[in-house]
Amino acid sequence: MERTALRRRLTWQVGTVTEVRDETETARTIVLDAPDWPGHLAGQHVDVRLTAPDGYRASRSYSISSAWTGEGVELTVEQVPDGEVSPYLVEVLKVGDPLELRGPVGGWFVWRPEQAGPIQLIGGGSGVVPLMAMLRAHGTAASTTPVRLLYSVRRPASVIYVKDLKELAASEDVDLTFVYTREAPAGEPRVGRIDAALLQAKAFAPADDLTTYVCGPTPFVEAVADLLVTGGHDPARVRTERFGPTGGPR
C-alpha cells in the first residue's frame, strides 16, 4: 500500500461526501468516498480546494482523523472565526456534494503500527485530529504499544471525539489526560496550560525508543516542544505539526 501511496505524482481528485458528523458546536467530521484514494498512514493530511462559480479558488490543509481500513477517508474540520474555507466545510457542505482533494501527504508526522517504542501524543485544540487517527490505527492494528494522549482544550464542550476517546481509553494500553485551559468540569481542579509539572506527572519520561507527536496551533507547539526538550527529550524524537489561523495561502 505504502509504495503506491508515495510513488506516483499526486494531483487533485474529486471525492464525494458520504456522511457528516458534528463533533462539537464548531467542529465537524466529513466522511468522503474518493475513488482514487490509495490509503493513508495515521497522521497524514490532505489539501482541500474549493472553487466558486466565478473561478475563485481557496485551498487549505486538513488532517485525516480516520485510520485506513480499506475504504473512505475522514477529515475533522474546526471552524475558524472569519475563516474562508472552514465555515464552508462545517456549515455548508452536505452529503452528496463533491469535494476536491489532494493527498494523502506527509511522511514525517506519521505513526506506523510496526514502529518500535511507546508513543506520547500531545494535542492542542483541533491538533487532536491527526493524533486521533494514530489512536484509531493503534486500535485497528490491535497494537499493544503503550500510548498516552495529553489533550489540551479550552473547556469540556470543546472536546472533539468525546465518546470515541472514552472507548479507546478503556484499553489498558491507552492512557488519556484532558488539560483544560479556561474551564474545567466539576471535580477537575486544574485549569491551565500544559507545564513542566504536568508533563512530569502525566507524560512518558524521556526514553530512547519513545516517539512524541505534538500537534496544535504554532504557539502551542512551540511551547510544548520547548518544555519537552528542556525536560530532557531528544529533539529528534519529538515530531511536530503546526497549524495557523488560516492554514493556507490567501
Partner: protein
Amino acid sequence: MSADVPTYLDGNAAAGALREVFAVDLTAAIGKCTGCGHSAVFAEAHVYVDAPGMVARCPGCDNVLLRVVSTPNDTYLDLRGLTYLRISNTP
C-alpha cells in the same frame, strides 16, 4: 498588535505542493541550510503560507531554504537555500 504571535507553519504544510512535483515525500527528508549549516528534517522548517508563494525558512537562522510558486501553467521551485536534501531510499 499580533506581530509577536508566530505566523509560520512547518514543513508539513508544504507536503501537498511538493508532492505535485516530487515522486517522494520530502517532509521526512533531511535538509542542510546554506546559511548556517544547520541540518534538520524538512518537516521542522518554518513555512510561511500567507504569501504569494510558499516560503520555507531555516528554524535556526531564518534563511530561505525553499520557495514554491504555483502559477496556472507552471510550478516554480527555488531550492537555493539548501546545500542538500537527504532522502531515505527506504520509504
